[in-house]
């Protein structure tokens, strides 16, 4: 069932985590364990630390997984910490993570969910 009315969702944040290719699944599992509804992953090629580390740079894969997770701002700190721990970002060269504020978001929200929100009226 389609519903063309737009429900704007605010108080949403985007957590992005860039880790070595193959480590993205651990990040997703950690985020979903904390309640994140989904994640998006794409590949990227990283540059920087490999050059600085010289021969040791071979230990750091250039291929990266970029994992993006949308979360409610109420939960962003908890999800972010879970991701940080899962990705072992305290290890040099393991990757980075950051949070971006989202101004607004829209997606399909089933009518029965909207009806539970105070102030929303169901229209037939």
């Amino acid at each position: 069932m389609n519903d063309t009315r737009i429900t704007y969702l605010t108080d949403v944040a985007l957590i992005t985590c860039i880790v070595t290719a193959g480590r993205g699944d651990a990040v997703i599992r950690a985020a979903q364990a904390m309640g994140a509804a989904g994640a998006l992953v794409y590949h990227a090629r990283g540059v920087g630390p490999r050059e600085r580390l010289g021969l040791l740079g071979i230990a750091i894969e250039a291929e990266k997984d970029v994992v993006s997770v949308l979360v409610a701002t109420d939960h962003q700190d908890a999800v972010f910490e879970a991701i940080y721990r899962a990705a072992e970002l305290d290890t040099p060269g393991a990757g980075i993570a950051y949070i971006t504020p989202i101004e607004k978001m829209a997606t399909y929200v089933p009518r029965e969910i909207l009806q539970r929100v105070p102030g929303q009226r169901a229209s037939e």
């Binding site: 069932m1 389609n2 519903d3 063309t4 009315r5 737009i6 949403v12 985007l14 699944d25 997703i28 599992r29 979903q32 994140a36 509804a37 989904g38 994640a39 998006l40 992953v41 794409y42 949308l70 971006t100 504020p101 989202i102 101004e103 607004k104 978001m105 829209a106 997606t107 399909y108 089933p110």
Partner: protein
């Protein structure tokens, strides 16, 4: 951004802008959206990349300790002028059929500064390129 001086380099053109990102199923919606943006709205600052989508709200089977197989998704990013962003957000919501189950997600983020993307004049569209007709 920077202010040019008579002797210095020209100032960098651009303004504050918004980034609209669409997470879309890989069913051709993204191509139609890009054509519509270019043909009808004259928007050239739009890009699309393949992504793996992992949704917790989808029924799927997985091996123990493993994630279910992801869905192939498209991430379309569009840079638009700040004062046009709200209207375009609503139009994209309709145009990309976000309002259907599994239709994807639309988000908008503020950008401190964005340069324009001006195409060379007099260069024809590639064959099969955007015409604005859907």
């Amino acid at each position: 951004m920077s202010v040019g001086t008579p002797d210095g380099p020209a100032p960098i053109p651009g303004t504050a802008a918004k980034l609209i990102a669409c997470i879309l199923p890989d069913d051709g919606t993204e191509r139609r959206l890009l054509q519509w943006l270019r043909g009808r709205k004259g928007i050239t600052r739009a890009n699309s990349v393949y992504c793996r989508g992992h949704s917790a709200l989808r029924e799927a089977t997985a091996r123990r300790g493993k994630l279910p197989d992801p869905l192939l998704m498209r991430l379309v990013t569009i840079v638009v002028e700040a004062d046009e962003a709200d209207a375009l957000f609503d139009l994209i919501y309709e145009q990309a059929d976000i309002h259907r189950p599994g239709g994807g997600t639309l988000i908008m983020q503020p950008l401190a500064f964005a340069t324009p993307f001006v195409l060379p004049a007099g260069v024809p569209n590639e064959n099969g390129g955007p015409t604005g007709d859907l």
